[in-house]
């Protein structure tokens, strides 16, 4: 799957990607387009999933912790820290690997098999730099925004449960959300998300860029992109947690 030779080709591609653009004007024109396509267009699904996950996690926490010794505000606290520490960065990134990763791989892959990448190279354009750099930078720049949205929407979902059901009083829940807040957790989440954004965009672009053959192979490249960027995110999550929290 991830052989040494694959890693070598990936590094090679990244070297070509992170070089000076042939034309900065074109780069600055591409960047906002990619940010819109990869980042802004993902807000909807992230909002939706975060609200529902926040709601369901709140319900589960209340229903499964009936120990009277635990203070009632602990539900809010648990939700906040779960959202901050893992959900908004790692789980959201796995979701994005599916949505954005397959989009990037199939877009670049179909440009490869229809010779559009060759056409760029013939013109003397560094195709890796022109196609991949705006995607990687665009997604990385959008990640903090997406993480923030996810955290807030999760908390809104939880608050909704407190408000509309009688599982937990709203005041207790809100108190819990604010209790013993560690701002560094937010920083930690943002830092992780930057790495994950890079992983998703670059690995997916890699599989698209080296697609060959017909339309079927574009589908295969897209699947490889999602699976492999997810695996790397999971591994990287452990490494980053070790480095940043322990």
């Amino acid at each position: 799957m991830l052989g040494l030779d694959t890693v070598g080709r990936y590094v090679e591609l990244m070297k070509r990607t992170f070089s000076k653009p042939d034309n900065w004007k074109m780069f600055w024109r591409q960047l906002p387009k990619e940010m819109e396509k990869l980042g802004i267009d993902s807000i909807g699904i992230i909002v939706l999933i975060s609200i529902f996950m926040g709601a369901i996690m709140t319900m589960q926490t209340v229903l499964n912790t009936e120990n009277p010794l635990l203070p009632r505000y602990s539900t809010g606290l648990v939700l906040r820290d779960t959202m901050l520490l893992e959900f908004a960065s790692s789980i959201m990134s796995l979701l994005l690997a599916g949505k954005v990763g397959s989009n990037i791989a199939s877009e670049i892959g179909s440009m490869r098999i229809t010779e559009q990448i060759d056409a760029l190279e013939i013109m003397g354009v560094n195709s890796a730099n022109y196609l991949i750099l705006p995607k990687v930078i665009g997604l990385v720049l959008c990640m903090p925004l997406l993480v923030t949205f996810s955290v807030f929407c999760g908390l809104i979902g939880g608050t909704g449960v407190a408000y509309f059901t009688d599982l937990i009083p709203v005041a207790d829940f809100i108190y819990g959300i604010q209790y013993a807040f560690i701002p560094y957790y937010f920083t930690y989440s943002i830092i992780k998300s930057l790495f994950f954004g890079f992983i998703i965009a670059s690995i997916s672009a890699f599989y698209g860029y080296y697609a060959y053959g017909g339309a079927l192979n574009v589908g295969r490249a897209s699947t490889n992109a999602v699976v492999n960027s997810s695996i790397v995110i999971l591994l990287m999550n452990i490494v980053l947690t070790q480095l940043l929290l322990v």
């Binding site: 074109m26 440009m111 010779e115 559009q116 056409a119 013939i122 013109m123 003397g124």
Partner: protein, 253 residues
């Protein structure tokens, strides 16, 4: 003029091109012909440097591609235009944006001049003006080929490569595209190389032809010799179709 000398190319140990030598003339349409899978595209892409040949020389007016640095190759590319088999238009850009793209990327022309030049190229290939702002997916295959030609000539190339310019086109449109390529070649004094296995095309434009047979150069000549030269590889290629067998028999009578 482009000269190829003793070119060899293989993929993962599987040799595709064997010791190819050929001369492609300036201001003329040169053809590489042969059956599907014979190695025409690989030869063309090795001449351009999209594939790296293991040994041999590719001389662009004396400058050897295989000795060039990456930077020199990039600069050479600005003198090269290519028409791909499937047109390879950028499908995220409109027709006119496709033609403007190389100009925006590599010239210091003002926005107005870029648009002027793009329109000039599109007019030159006789594309109807109503199509300028359509997307590539919205126009016919023949029109896509025209746009691809316009894009290929936008930077005034010295060398033009066309990989199967007729594939996917009806015979009438094919002839129109062939004629267009020939006219542009003469008008702008370009060294043009075309890959084809289309007999109509060969009989129409073939002034300087090389035949590739299973990765070897099987024959070279011009359309005048196509039916008469006594060459096994050539005869296999030309008389594969019943029609041309009949032509041959008729000629012999």
């Amino acid at each position: 003029m482009i000269e190829v000398k003793h070119l060899n190319k293989s993929f993962d140990g599987k040799q595709v091109l064997y010791d190819i030598s050929a001369t492609f003339r300036h201001g003329a349409v040169n053809q590489i012909i042969g059956k599907s899978g014979s190695g025409k595209t690989v030869l063309m892409k090795s001449i351009i440097g999209l594939f790296k040949a293991e040994s041999g020389e590719v001389l662009y007016d004396g400058r050897n591609l295989l000795d060039m640095s990456k930077r020199e190759i990039k600069l050479l590319r600005r003198e090269v235009g290519m028409l791909f088999q499937g047109s390879a238009l950028f499908d995220s850009m409109s027709v006119i944006e496709n033609v403007m793209y190389p100009l925006q990327m590599f010239s210091d022309m003002s926005k107005i001049d870029v648009e002027k030049r793009a329109k000039f190229c599109l007019e030159r290939v006789n594309l109807q003006t109503h199509a300028y702002h359509l997307m590539p997916g919205e126009i016919s295959g023949g029109m896509q080929k025209r746009v691809a030609i316009a894009r290929a000539i936008s930077l005034n190339p010295k060398y033009l490569f066309c990989d199967e310019p007729n594939s996917g086109l009806d015979p009438v449109t094919s002839l129109v595209i062939d004629k267009l390529i020939e006219d542009i070649t003469q008008e702008f004094n370009i060294t043009t190389i075309i890959n084809t296995h289309d007999m109509n095309s060969i009989m129409e434009t073939g002034a300087n032809i090389i035949l590739i047979n299973k990765g070897h150069k099987g024959w070279e000549g011009s359309k005048e010799g196509i039916f008469t030269d006594d060459n096994q590889a050539l005869n296999d290629f030309v008389f594969a179709s019943e029609l041309y067998k009949k032509v041959k028999l008729a000629n012999q009578k």
